[in-house]
Structure formats: structure tokens, C-alpha cells
């Protein structure tokens, strides 16, 4: 029970010395200011203005950083190359969202929300989807031959823009994928390198190309020499979000966030699992593949779960 039981001063009351002194005497009692006196609605701005205690009413901390070139005109865009061998070549996008020397702790009952975007444009020369050994080559029938069938890519090749963090030190030299994401460096199925689809958190996928045949008819394409329609993909945004609830994961001190680009990946599967595997056979015989990128942004919010 509260030890301060004097009636409150009401509007219109005289503010005389005795009344004020009595109020201050109440507050000076040992232990008078305790949880019973202050809980729930007794809290005020001073408490909520203390981010170090993690007591923000909703948002504990919010930060944003520009990454990439900062060039919105695509005048001199850097390029991420397609990997021609495993493990994948990872191109680091310049710019880091840094939390300084002490980092930021994701504590019990807290949620980390990260949203990022990056301007990207997949590019290619020749027909990399037709390179020997390339994955996803489907053959479909032709109405009049020869040939009786033609090949077309299944359009499932894609680049990855991946979110990484440093949870080791403020030196920002120990970058690893965020919780729930793999590094795509290991062999996962049939001698192929990649990761399963359930370990891709924080990854944004960008389609590598978009092909079709014109005038499909009855499941066939018009012959005798159908031409593939190559719809070029222009500049777009690799954009996604990453939401992490600390519980039940172990505590994380986050020192920085950044983006890397790697690819090109393609679907693969076994009896129980779907994978994204690196297709290393696309760049050959004069066929090329790369991805341009420009400006982007990473925004991260630490907030209480409730």
C-alpha cells in the first residue's frame, strides 16, 4: 500500500508553504518511491526517454543508413559477377549500418525489424540459359517440325541480395548471415552448392531473365522455327524485410548490418527438401551474366515485443 496518503492538491487550492513542505516530506520517506507508488500509469516521459534501459514505449531504437553508390541516375553502376565456381563469389555492397563501439543488444522480449532495398538490374549477354549444363532447360513440343521440340528456360534462375550482420565486434570484420539464413557455401544436394529454402531469411530474390515463346497453342509453340521472346528486365528494387524475435534465440549484440550480392541460383530438390543451388555453368561459350546495382537503404528498428 502506498505510504503517501495525503489528499492531492486540487486546482484552485492555495499553494502555501505548509502544503508544499508536507508533500516534499512525503516524497523524502525512505522507500516511499517504490513500485506500488509508481506502477502503471505513474510513469512519465523521463522513463520512456531512456533508451539505455530498453523502456521505450514501443520503439527502443531506430536507425537508417544509405548503402550502395548513392547514384540515382545509374551513371556508373558497379557490377556483381555471376559465379562460375563454388562457393559463390559474394559482392559486398558498400555502406554499413553501424551500431558503434558498443553495438546494440537484442534483449529478452525485444524484436528486431530490418527493411532494406537496393536498386538492381540483372544483365546478360548471349543466351546463358542455353549454356551446356545450365539448369532448368525444359523442352516443349513444336506444332510443325522439324524439330519436334525446342528448349526454353523455366525462368527460375535468380540472384540473391543477402542481409549479413556482425555480432562479434565493432571492428566489423566478422560478417555472417543473419539468424535463419545459410551462407550458401556448402554442398547440399547432388554435389551442388547452396542452401535449402527454409534457410533464406533476410534474402531478396531478383529474377535473372524472363523468357517465353509467343503464341502457345495446345501446349505447343508454332513451328517450324519458333523464336524465343526475351523480355529484358530493367532496373527494379531488391526489397524485403527481416523480423527477428529474441526469444527463444540466444542474446545477440549487433554491431552492424550490410548487404551482399551473389548468384546465380536455380531450384533443385530431392525427395523431401527444396533447395536453391548455384548454377555455375551459365557463363561459358561467350555467354555472360552479371548484376548491376546502385543506391539502397537499410533501416533497422529495435522494439519491445509488448
Amino acid at each position: 500500500m502506498s505510504r503517501i496518503n495525503r489528499p492531492p492538491v486540487l486546482p484552485g487550492d492555495p499553494a502555501n508553504a505548509a502544503q508544499l513542505n508536507a508533500a516534499y516530506t512525503d516524497f523524502s520517506q525512505l522507500g516511499a518511491v517504490d513500485q506500488l507508488n509508481t506502477r502503471d500509469s505513474g510513469f512519465d516521459l523521463a522513463h520512456f526517454q531512456a533508451p539505455a534501459t530498453g523502456n521505450g514505449p514501443v520503439i527502443i531504437r531506430s536507425d537508417s543508413a544509405n548503402v550502395g553508390t548513392g547514384d540515382i541516375y545509374h551513371s556508373a553502376s558497379p557490377v556483381a559477377p555471376a559465379s562460375i565456381a563454388a562457393p559463390p563469389t559474394k559482392t559486398v555492397v558498400s555502406g554499413v549500418l553501424s551500431y558503434g563501439a558498443n553495438g546494440q543488444v537484442l534483449a529478452d522480449g525485444q524484436v528486431l525489424r530490418v527493411y532494406y532495398n537496393l536498386a538492381v538490374r540483372p544483365k546478360y549477354g548471349g543466351t546463358p540459359w542455353d549454356s551446356p549444363g545450365a539448369l532448368g532447360q525444359y523442352d516443349v513440343p513444336v506444332t510443325t517440325g522439324p524439330p519436334p521440340n525446342v528448349f526454353i528456360s523455366d525462368n527460375a534462375h535468380f540472384w540473391l541480395v543477402q542481409l549479413e550482420w556482425d555480432i562479434t565486434s565493432s571492428a566489423l570484420i566478422n560478417w555472417i548471415p543473419v539468424d535463419g539464413a545459410g551462407n550458401f557455401n556448402g554442398v547440399v544436394v547432388a554435389g551442388r552448392t547452396g542452401d535449402s529454402l527454409q534457410t533464406m531469411r533476410g534474402c531478396a530474390c531478383v529474377p535473372a531473365w524472363n523468357l517465353t515463346y509467343n503464341r502457345w497453342r495446345d501446349g505447343e509453340v508454332p513451328g517450324p522455327t519458333p523464336s524465343i521472346e526475351d523480355r529484358r528486365i530493367g532496373w527494379s528494387s531488391a526489397s524485403t524485410g527481416y523480423v527477428l524475435l529474441k526469444n527463444p534465440l540466444t542474446s545477440r549484440t549487433i554491431y552492424g548490418l550490410r548487404l551482399v550480392i551473389h548468384g546465380i541460383y536455380h531450384p533443385y530438390r530431392d525427395a523431401t527438401t527444396n533447395y536453391a543451388v548455384l548454377d555455375v555453368n551459365l557463363v561459358s561459350g561467350g555467354n555472360t551474366a552479371e548484376m548491376e546495382y546502385d543506391q539502397g537503404n537499410i533501416t533497422a528498428i529495435f522494439m519491445r515485443e509488448q
Binding site: P8, V9, P11, G136, P207, P267
Partner: protein, 224 residues
Amino acid sequence: MKRWTQHQPRPAQLVEAQQFNAEMQAARSSMASLDRTQFPLAVLSPATLAPSAVARVYLTELVNGALAYPGQQNTELDTATNAESWAGATYDIYSGGWQTCFVTTLNGHRGGNTIVELIGSGFCNGWDHVVQPASGFVINEKFLSTRIRVNGVTVAEQGGIPHGVQTFRLFGAVQLPPGNHEVAVDWRGVGPTANEPVREYTGNEPILRYHLFNMTFAAYARFR
């Protein structure tokens, strides 16, 4: 030290009498309660805040679920596709229409504005996007849609992925009364016409048309 509650003086600001009167009244009323700087900071902790929280985050990390294909669509999964593909929706088994990926419940909601958000990736193989009215062929665009329903009412919906493997983020806001609220996430691919190739010519394996994966659902409730 006391803090101004309103009318905080700024450099080069015009002074008006009311700003002092208002502050005097605020100071006088604070005599009956504790001055805000008298509270020790440690008296407030996340644990004491939770019972009277003004907000709550609901998070469903679908990739950690116990589903056969965690974080993926888990309906209309054709496992007869070839190895260079995914177990996903083919026209062999799926002919269009809304399917429900998963259902979750926002428990202990106290009523108020709620933002719902679905983050994920999907695949639409993009064949037959022909747009040539003069050719006499049917315009038949394919895309993979998703939507979020709260208590059966669609809150957010997108036309969706038109081609290739792409990442999306779908979000919307809804006012909810206190109670438990059921959320459903649905997907829909455009169905086939008579002109689609359904199976590969040589291998006779069904061709993958749509697939959803890497999905996370979150709701951010701001209570009244």
C-alpha cells in the same frame, strides 16, 4: 531538474503570458504526484510495462514451423516435378483458385489498430505472357497473388509476382476489437488455358508453375 511540459522556450521565440501560466499550473499539480525526475529509472522495466503495454508484436516465423516444407506454401505441392525444380504447384494438380497457406491467431489482442505484414518470396514461371491482340491469341498473363485475411476479411492483397523468382512484402492495417483474431494467408496462381504446356516433352514431368517460400508473418498491434 524539472522539465517543461509545454511551451518549451526556444531561442528568438516570442514570449506570451499563457506559456508561464500553463507551466505554473503543471508545476503546481505535480506537487501532489511525484515529479517525473524523482522516479528512479530502475523502477520501470519491460516486465512491469508488459501488463499495460500499448503495443504488441505477433511474429510467426514460418521457416521454423513443423511443416513438411517449412515456410513454403504447403498446399498443392506436386512432388513429381524433376530434380531441377521445386516441389510446388503444377497444372497437373492445380487449376487455379485461392489456397490457404497457413492460419495463425493473434491471442490476447486488446483492441486497436493492427498492421499485418507478410514477407516472402515466390516463383511464377512467366510463360504465356503473350500480349499480342492482333495475333488473335488470348492474352493470358500469369501471376502469383497473395492476400492476408483477418477474421475472414481481406485486409491486404497483391496481384503478385509476374515472372521468375522474386521477393515481396505485403502489408495492410485493420482496426480490431479486443479478443483473439484469426489470420489466414492465402495464395492464388492464374489457372491454365487450353494453350499451356503442362508437362515436359521428353521427360513427361509436370512443369513447375508457382511456388511460395521463405515466408514470415508479423502483426504489430497498437492498442487503444
